[in-house]
Structures are given as C-alpha cells and as structure tokens.
C-alpha cells in the first residue's frame, strides 16, 4: 500500500513499542477490584452530572419542604429541617444507587464489558470493583447533603460521631441496594430502561415513607405501607443516629436488611453475570 515516510516512521515507532512486552503476573483480586473502583471515581470526576442530576431532586425537596411547609408542619422552618434532613440524606444516597445498574448496563451495550470479560482477572472484579468505587460516590453525595443542611441551620444532636455513624449506615444500606440494580443492569437491554425501572421502584418508596412527615396523621392503609417500607426503617435509624437517640434495634434492622439484600442479590448478580450467553 502506501510507502510514504510517515507510514515508515509509524511502523518503526510501532515496532519499538510492540517488541516483546510480556504479560506481568496476573493482578490479585484486590488489585483488579481496586482498579475498577478507581475507574468509577474517575467517572465521577469527568461526569459530575451523574451526581448533580440525582442530588438536585432531594435539594429541591429540602428547600421546598423546609421553606414552604416547614413552618406549617413543625411550627418553624428550623424545627422542620431538624426532622427532614436525615430523610433527605437517605433519599439522596438511595437515588444515587441507581447509577450502579446504569453504568454496568452502559458498559455492556458499548462493548467495554466484553473487553473486561476477555481479560485474565478475578472474575467478579468488574462487578465488585465498581460497587466499591460507588461507595465513594455515596460518600460525596451524603457529605453534600449534610453540608447543605448545616448551612441551612441543621444542628445534629448526635454530634460529629452521630453524623459519621448516620452516613456510614446509609452508605452500607446503599451498597446492599446497589446489588439489586446490578442484577437489573445485567438483565435489561438499555441503560435508559435500567434507569427508568429503578426510579420507578424508588420514587414511591421514598415518597410513601417517613422522610417528609410523621405518618401518624395518615390514613391507616398508607401507614401500614409506610411501616413495612424499608426506606422508613433506614430513615428512622439514620434520624436516630444523627440525633444521638438511635436504638440497637433500629440500627440492627438496617444492618440486617443491607446484609440480606447483599446475600440475595450479590449471588444473583454473579449468577446472571456468569450465565450471560
């Protein structure tokens, strides 16, 4: 074909770059997973929209509910914010979890996932690694919400320890919940479908909960739903931790639920992953 000087130069540089690069030892399971976690965090840096889109909704709710209804609901906007903020924290982080499924599905549809699957690495790493990276995303999201709350006048009675414990609990629950979306991400055909379905599940769960108001004045059927809604339990425990009044039972329920979600959906995800074609 062409024998232009540029082709020859390219050829020479290429041969130098290609000559005998043997494969280093296979990376450990931890190293491979951490590399995928690093990738998830890089995406957060390059595509911050993925965070702001989801955080925007809880912020609007926080500001809207606090200033529109806060006085009427709790006597004063400040008193209402004390009640609302832990709920906003849960809502935000829970909504951010949907990206675990969306990003996985995007990797599958673009073919990036095939490249990962054709590498000699610890098999679960392309699934487990991003989820570990996603906990970094949850940390950023929860820090943003708490900072917003503090700026608006939220004062947690549980102090720094209470806030950190509350954030840790929410992040732990989010990790368990992420497995649901990775399973979905392996089954559904497009990233949009994953996004729509996960939001379709999460919106009713977050709205019909104790995030915005105390359910004692609601009709019985709704109260019955709210009482079994897992989000309600997470909010109650988080509220307790932030206020320094949490009981072992409240926190234990959330830890058990997170463990149960992981115990069911992590093996299901891995099963679906291995069975792809």
């Amino acid at each position: 074909m062409t024998t232009t000087p540029t082709t020859t130069a390219l050829d020479r540089a290429l041969r130098a770059a290609l000559a005998g690069h043997d494969r280093p030892p296979r990376p450990s399971a931890l190293s491979a997973s951490r590399t995928f976690g690093w990738r998830a965090l890089l995406k957060l840096k390059h595509v911050p929209e993925q965070l702001t889109d989801v955080i925007g909704i809880p912020i609007i709710f926080t500001l809207g509910f606090t200033y529109l209804f806060g006085g009427a609901l709790a006597g004063s906007t400040r008193a209402y914010l004390q009640f609302l903020l832990p709920g906003t924290l849960v809502m935000t982080v829970v909504l951010v979890t949907t990206f675990s499924g969306v990003t996985l599905n995007t990797d599958i549809t673009t073919g990036v996932f095939d490249r990962f699957r054709s590498l000699s690495i610890w098999r679960p790493a392309p699934i487990v690694g991003p989820l570990l990276g996603d906990t970094g995303r949850y940390l950023v999201a929860s820090t943003l919400v708490v900072t917003l709350g503090l700026a608006l006048g939220y004062r947690p009675d549980g102090g720094v320890a209470g806030v950190l414990a509350g954030m840790a609990l929410v992040i732990g629950f989010a990790f368990g919940l992420s497995w649901v979306w990775t399973a979905l991400g392996l089954v559904l055909r497009t990233p949009t479908a994953v996004n729509n379905l996960s939001l379709l599940v999460l919106f009713p769960l977050t709205l019909a909960s104790n995030i915005f108001v105390d359910p004692t004045t609601m009709p019985g059927w709704l109260r019955a739903f709210i009482e079994v809604n897992p989000i309600t339990h997470v909010v109650t425990a988080t509220r307790g931790l932030l206020a320094g009044t949490a009981t072992a039972g409240q926190v234990g329920w959330v830890l058990a639920a997170s463990a149960a979600l992981t115990a069911v959906f992590a093996p299901l995800t891995m099963h679906l992953y291995r069975r792809r074609h």
């Binding site: 390219l10 050829d11 290429l14 494969r23 280093p24 590399t35 890089l42 095939d114 054709s118 590498l119």
Partner: protein, 326 residues
C-alpha cells in the same frame, strides 16, 4: 497433545444456536501460529459469534475450540492470558481520557502503578495519541477511537490478537494505519485472526481466508486460491460514443475470451475477467479499431462477486449495514 502447539486456533464441529438460528453451524478452523487468518463473510454469517467463542465470551453448544492448545471453556482463564480482543465497536470508555483508558487496562493486565504509566506513555507516542491523551474519548474521531481501541489490545504483546471488522467505517487513511499495525505485529510473531466484509482487506492482510455463509465455512484457502476460483475481477468501461458500443463489445469479447455485458448505462460495458493480463491487449485492440474509451476500471472482485461465484446467489445484504447478527 502436550507437544508445542503449532496451531494458534483449532476448532472442530463448533455449533452455536440462538433460538432457532444456527449462528455457527459446524465450523472447523485451523489457524497456523504466526499467520494472519481472515474470516470473510457478509453480516450474519457467524463471524462475530466465532470470535466471541474464541475469546471466551460465549460458550459453544457443541464442538471444541482451542487457542494454543487451551480449551476455551475448560481452560478459559489460560486462553484469556494469551489473547487480546478488539471488538466490532470501539470498546473504550467514552467518559475517560485516552490515557486513563490505557492505564486502566495496563493495571488490569497486572502492571504495577508506575510501570503502567511508563508503558502507556510509550504506547501513546507510538500510536500517535499523545496529543489527545488527556481529552475525554467521547471527543475523539472514529478513527482515533479505533486506534485507541487497538492500542488497548497491545499493552502486552498478545499471542493471538482478535480483530472483529477492524476497519469497518474507517476512511482510507485510518484503514491503512490499522493495516500497518497488523503487519508490524505479525512481523513480531503475533498471530492475528480478523473478520472482514471486504475481500480487498482479507487479500491485503491474510495468509489464509475462510469464507463464511450462514454459519458455515464455504471456502478456505490462500487469497490467491480464492481469487482464482472467482476470477481476477471485473472490467468496467465507458465509451464517449454510445453508438460504438456493439463493436466494442464484440472486440472485447474476442480479446478477453469471456462474455461482455452491456450495462444499463448505454455507453458502458462490463465483463468478469479471468486473466487480468489480457485486459491491456483488449484495450489496445479497441484503440486500434478507432474506438475511444472515456474511462475504465479493473476492480477486485467484491465480496458479492465472491459469493455469487461460491454460492450461486448474492449476499443479499445491504453493504451499508454494519451489524453482524451476534
């Protein structure tokens, strides 16, 4: 069985069905180590399915496939340690920079942090990607994405490089670059298995070609053998004066020794040429008879013509569709 394998790829009786479609229907391939092997066929012929089985992404229903002696199902991880795959669509992360994409893969291949960076710098320079290295890949042109994609497959020198339609959708400049890369690799001892829809590409690169149709290999051999079975190519020519077409047709048929067909264009003629050496003489006879020629072309047989010759029917698939049914 444990002797040093001289075959990079060996499949026998490979079958894969999707629903009622037999995407791969009993394929036996033998790819010698150190060669370039082309899988040639239209969309839906089963090329990509074979690639996916060989790269451990898909399990065959029946039959076996070995890569340098390792079974793709039972010894999948060993196979993964020998291969690199560049799929049909640039499988790079659009949300990361070019450099980050390569560092990510270098780390996953086992390079420690600093050596990964050093190796990636070297590759960015060699593949002419240094300038764009810190831009997000979503801003890259199609040719640059393809180059990054191939670079990602060459961080370590694979024993077998698998390229699925490496130049589909590329302009001639970028296509030549990909071809240069393949040639440089082969000179270095890597075996290359590629799929293509273009006879020209297979002819340029491959030592052996398997022509595929509906999940089966319908012809196998060197490009020379394959082309000999099809004819050297197609001669097409146009006359400035359409009234001379009948005379021109008669003269050409005599000189070429093959039937010459009038085209729908009233000034054009075409012929399937078996011996390209006779074309010059035929054109000289036209000139001698005072028949001017406006333009002429002797083209390689297209995939369609190969198909027609081998199967008696055209590929029946629009050239512009780029998808290969799984």
């Amino acid at each position: 069985m444990t002797a040093q394998p001289t075959l990079a790829v060996e499949t026998s009786g490979l079958v894969k069905t999707f629903g009622t479609t037999r995407a791969v229907d009993g394929v036996d391939l033998r790819v010698p180590a150190g060669s370039v092997y082309g899988l040639l066929g239209p969309n839906g012929a089963g090329k990509t399915t074979i690639i996916r089985i060989l790269t451990t992404l898909l399990r065959p229903d029946t039959g076996t496939a070995r890569v340098f002696g390792d079974d793709v199902v039972a010894e999948a991880d060993a196979v993964r340690g020998r291969i690199a795959l560049t799929g049909q669509y640039a499988a790079v992360d659009l949300d990361l920079t070019g450099r980050e994409n390569l560092v990510l893969l270098a780390r996953l291949l086992g390079y420690p942090r600093r050596p990964a960076r050093t190796r990636v710098e070297e590759l960015l320079d060699a593949f002419d990607l240094a300038e764009a290295a810190d831009r997000l890949v979503k801003t890259y042109s199609g040719g640059m994405r393809r180059r990054l994609d191939i670079t990602a497959s060459l961080i370590v020198t694979p024993q077998l490089l698998v390229l699925d339609e490496p130049t589909t959708g590329l302009d001639p400049h970028n296509r030549n670059q990909v071809w240069d890369i393949v040639r440089a690799l082969v000179a270095d001892g890597t075996t290359v298995l590629l799929t293509t829809q273009y006879l020209e590409e297979a002819d340029q690169l491959a030592d052996r070609i398997a022509v595929m149709d509906r999940g089966r290999v319908i012809a196998e051999g060197s490009p020379g053998q394959l082309k000999a079975s099809v004819g050297a190519g197609a001669l097409r020519l146009r006359l400035p004066d359409p009234t001379q077409r009948a005379d021109a047709r008669r003269l050409l048929a005599q000189a070429l020794g093959v039937p010459v067909h009038p085209a729908s264009d009233p000034a054009a003629l075409s012929a399937r040429v078996t011996d390209s050496r006779r074309v010059l003489g035929a054109l000289a006879e036209l000139a001698g008879a005072g028949i001017a020629v406006a333009d002429f072309a002797l083209a390689q047989p297209s995939l369609d013509e190969v198909f027609l010759a081998l199967t008696g029917r055209p590929t029946g698939i629009d050239d512009t569709t780029k998808e290969d049914a799984a």
